[in-house]
Symmetry: C4
Subunit: 199 residues, 4 copies
């Protein structure tokens, strides 16, 4: 089995989940400047989650560039990953709600971080299974594949730590969430930008 249709299906779920985020922001009954400003936590959560899902999509993209064949177990693990991604709009809504009412922010932000960290598990299992079952193509060496595996576990580990931090300092945790997303977006840019071909 090639992975083409799996990728198309996953792209669909990513695209829908990322676009559904906006449905968590409700139009105020009376849209005054104050009412629109009051939704700051929703805008913040929208922005963070949008960049996050976009990032997971880009990483999924990169991972499946190396995976050449799929099997039933890979499909299953991928479905678990998508179940977590599609759940993010709900977690986003919960976090935004707690920030807005200024109550239970610890819980709301920890819940959000936990959902992200848990999503890292099937993501890593996909990679582990693809290596174990020799589903990778020749575009990546064994050494590089192992190095990526370490790298891939790092993300959920830091998110789990940040989710614990959220129980003490929710706003610091949000800062960590956002910083991580920006870092993971920007860092490969810097790496690939370095050896830019001379014109």
């Amino acid at each position: 089995v090639t992975t083409a249709r799996l990728e198309t299906f996953s792209d669909g779920v990513f695209a829908i989940a990322i676009t559904l985020l906006v449905l968590e922001i409700q139009v105020p009954e009376e849209p005054t400047l104050h009412a629109l400003g009051d939704l700051w936590s929703s805008y913040l959560a929208y922005g963070v989650s949008f960049l996050l899902i976009g990032l997971v999509w880009a990483n999924h993209h990169t991972m499946f560039d190396h995976i050449e064949r799929g099997d039933r177990a890979l499909l299953f693990l991928n479905t678990l990953l998508l179940a977590d991604v599609a759940f993010i709009p709900f977690a986003t809504g919960v976090m935004a709600r707690t920030l807005r009412i200024s109550e239970h922010e610890q819980l709301g932000t920890a819940f959000y971080g936990a959902v992200i960290a848990i999503g890292g598990i099937p993501f890593n299992l996909i990679w582990w299974w693809a290596r174990r079952e020799r589903l990778l193509g020749s575009s990546i060496s064994d050494v590089e594949a192992r190095r990526l595996a370490v790298r891939y576990w790092l993300g959920p580990a830091i998110y789990a730590a940040a989710a614990l931090l959220a129980l003490l300092a929710p706003y610091a945790a949000i800062a960590v969430y956002a910083a991580l997303i920006v870092f993971y977006w920007v860092e490969p840019i810097r790496r690939t930008a370095a050896p830019r071909p001379t014109p």
Copy 2:
């Protein structure tokens, strides 16, 4: 007519239906730990339905790997199947609601099982029609196609039985629903895993 655009369209509906499941879970007004825990039935229903739609998608995938040509009747039967799949978020919401308020669980879980079982009818009609009209490619023999047909009818038959069981013991029925989904996900893994190529 090739089946390429039919598959793309179906993939779209599968991807959207699976992602819309999350909209059935409402962010609580006051997201306390208790309020989030109170949504357990929604999480359960979300998980079961997500794996179910993912499974139907994977099976649809396999079925259409064998179907080489499409005709108008196939399109029509496929639309009936999609109408059932797209209805699953509603059935999921109904089941989760009855479990949450601890009332009418018999009805809620039977309704859910019935929606799944009914979806098996167009699924099987597609296969029956493809065989009858010789729309299959050479990737499958007549004997295998007949064997698959028997296998494909088994699913809705068991689901119909489980839906009847739900009228007596809703939680047992849910356990059957979940067990069936896991079984159908895992069983082909074990079969294909057995003759794994020696390195």
Copy 3:
């Protein structure tokens, strides 16, 4: 410009609009058998609209099999068509609501029929423009293209008449809507089924 990406985009909108239909059906607070039965008008409207959008998709498919090149005006007309298709979930909700409360059914069903009839206008303009600008491929002759044009105008004309009928007899109009959809689904099946290749 080829029409590939236009078709993909259109397929996306069709798939989403058809799947969003389910969001118009709300899970009852207390899902009793009576409450679920009370939603009969929503189920009816869901079924009719699902088959309708599926039909428009199939016809769009057929039409674009003949259109080889696209231009900016074709994109624009196609966007108008999609704006009508994406509006159908709302019209479906309005019709279902009036049937349910047993009030304003004339208006609700006429509104629904009008939305469908209006959608026929951009559909026909696409075909008219493609013929005028010679965007058609060699898969269809001028005579056949003109014959199809007549055929394509028939649909919205009958729907407009049925929408007028709805102002007098809403249930008769719904019967006409449903009958038309089934007819347009089934009729090409019978035509293509006739010259079935002998085995």
Copy 4:
């Protein structure tokens, strides 16, 4: 990296955002002619936003016809653009709401214009980056690419001006929004229609 999967993903988000617009229009409890007519501002906003997102999609299409290779930074900028596009249904709902209750129309229409103008920034950054990093293919010359850059900045500049106008005269601003969209749809039609090949 080719831009194929980026385009597919973007097309998905465009298609979903454009179709979600309809969810901002709520079915009235009692759908009388008056109640349906009362939603005029929602219909207007729906129409304007539908044509707008369709237009951005078409322009995105054209832009990526010239971009041959993608890099991580391009993905990031594209994600920012999509975050704005996916936000349009909310901005549409806000504008429609203020028009409907005949209060805060200045704010509602300025907010809408600002969201559109802001979306122009990542759109232009994509083009700027593609030129700077020589990601363009040979289908466009440097001179034309620069000319397009000027042209691309014009849109958000006018929208920003119209958003300011909205603070004084909201209905005039809406007229400008709509006029611009129609102009940008129609203008390339006239240009490409001029040198129509003689039969």
